[in-house]
Assembly symmetry: C2
């Protein structure tokens, strides 16, 4: 009866836990990284054969990788015509941020209902403050993402987390395409501690208002900077 193979040795004996990553995933990761970093700008055409030769793989993994990115909403396909990095319109940018606001407000409400611990958030706040003082843009962006990621995770809602992650891909892309001068680092960093404080106080209305305002500040942008029709 080997319905469930109970292993006497519960350890993974392999020294090398080499996760066997399918090629399509590797390709998708590389392409996604290129898009999110802004190296592959919106509107750039993605030709399967060229990518296949460039990465020394067959077209099949390339196709599937591109489809993954399409699912992420980063690429769009026109049948028999071509595939390209999805153009970013000003409207899409605005919608992305407004949806993010709704997600984060939902997270705040759930955190207050469930009474999640706030230590993580405080840590990320400190990291942001340090980054702002050092005028380190990359570090601040990383800490900011960590903060909001933690915020969503504390909401304990897998579907919300997945949706937020997907949405945040575009946030990443947008920020990469932006001019960093648009951001006031100290102001961005300073926005966060009050949110944590409001959460600690259990003040839902204040926390919601703070997180909303914070998101809206980030959403303020110059459409001409990134919006492209092609």
């Amino acid at each position: 009866m080997t319905t469930k193979p109970m292993l006497a040795a519960p350890m993974p004996p392999d020294i090398a836990p080499i996760e066997n990553v399918p090629l399509r995933v590797q390709v998708a990761d590389r392409l996604r990284s290129a898009i999110l970093s802004g190296r592959l700008r919106p509107g750039t055409g993605l030709v399967e054969t060229a990518l296949a030769e460039q990465m020394n793989v067959s077209r099949a993994p390339i196709r599937e990788a591109i489809q993954i990115l399409e699912n992420d909403g980063l690429v769009e396909t026109i049948a028999y015509k071509g595939k390209r990095v999805k153009p970013l319109t000003a409207r899409e940018v605005a919608e992305t941020y407004s949806l993010r606001e709704v997600f984060e407000v939902m997270a705040v409400r759930r955190i207050l209902e469930n009474g999640a611990p706030l230590d993580l958030l405080r840590e990320h706040c400190d990291a942001m403050t340090e980054a702002a003082e050092a005028d380190d843009f990359e570090a601040l962006v990383a800490a900011d993402e960590a903060f909001h990621h933690a915020l969503i995770m504390l909401a304990d809602h897998d579907l919300l987390l997945a949706s937020w992650k997907n949405l945040y891909l575009r946030i990443h892309q947008i920020m990469a395409l932006r001019n960093r001068d648009e951001h006031n680092l100290t102001e961005v960093a300073g926005n966060h501690p009050p949110i944590v404080q409001a959460l600690a106080d259990g003040d839902a209305d204040r926390a919601v208002k703070l997180i909303s305002d914070h998101t809206r500040i980030l959403a303020a942008f110059d459409p001409a900077t990134i919006a492209q029709d092609l």
Copy 2:
């Protein structure tokens, strides 16, 4: 020598504007329909070779179709192991409805801000009432979806619409797996007109509360009915 009829008229000459639908899309549509109708229950394994032979196509379109469904969140893949219709846990069902609530609340708020016309909503309300009086479950479900779809569309937010559509796929699936006896048709139908009225009155708080309550009523379910670990 093309046999194509030469037409002086600049009109689209083909009587049949046969949209050339890729096989992967046709396959994806068929599979999605089967899943959403409950014919393919959660946990069911999807074997590429079997499906390929069954539908008389190669494995490539099948693979890509399954990946589309994976993007829809209806299928999950375990590398080198197999693919199956994603099992529905009680938690996922609850999360699906709670996220839907957030989406619809967002739509209500935007509708009130933008002052969208409400005629469409009233029409769908009437259709639901008729369906409830005729005890026609299918018609009520259709009218209900039309109502909520219209609600989201009136919010004039493409990203919200896309997210809602994706989420509603699972709602479809859940409803198909449910016992229809769980629903009180007249009650469900009766929930909607007050929402429209609140919108017409411009009463944001009341509209939000009504839509929230309505969603939560729908979310009430017996986990054992649909939840499956395998």
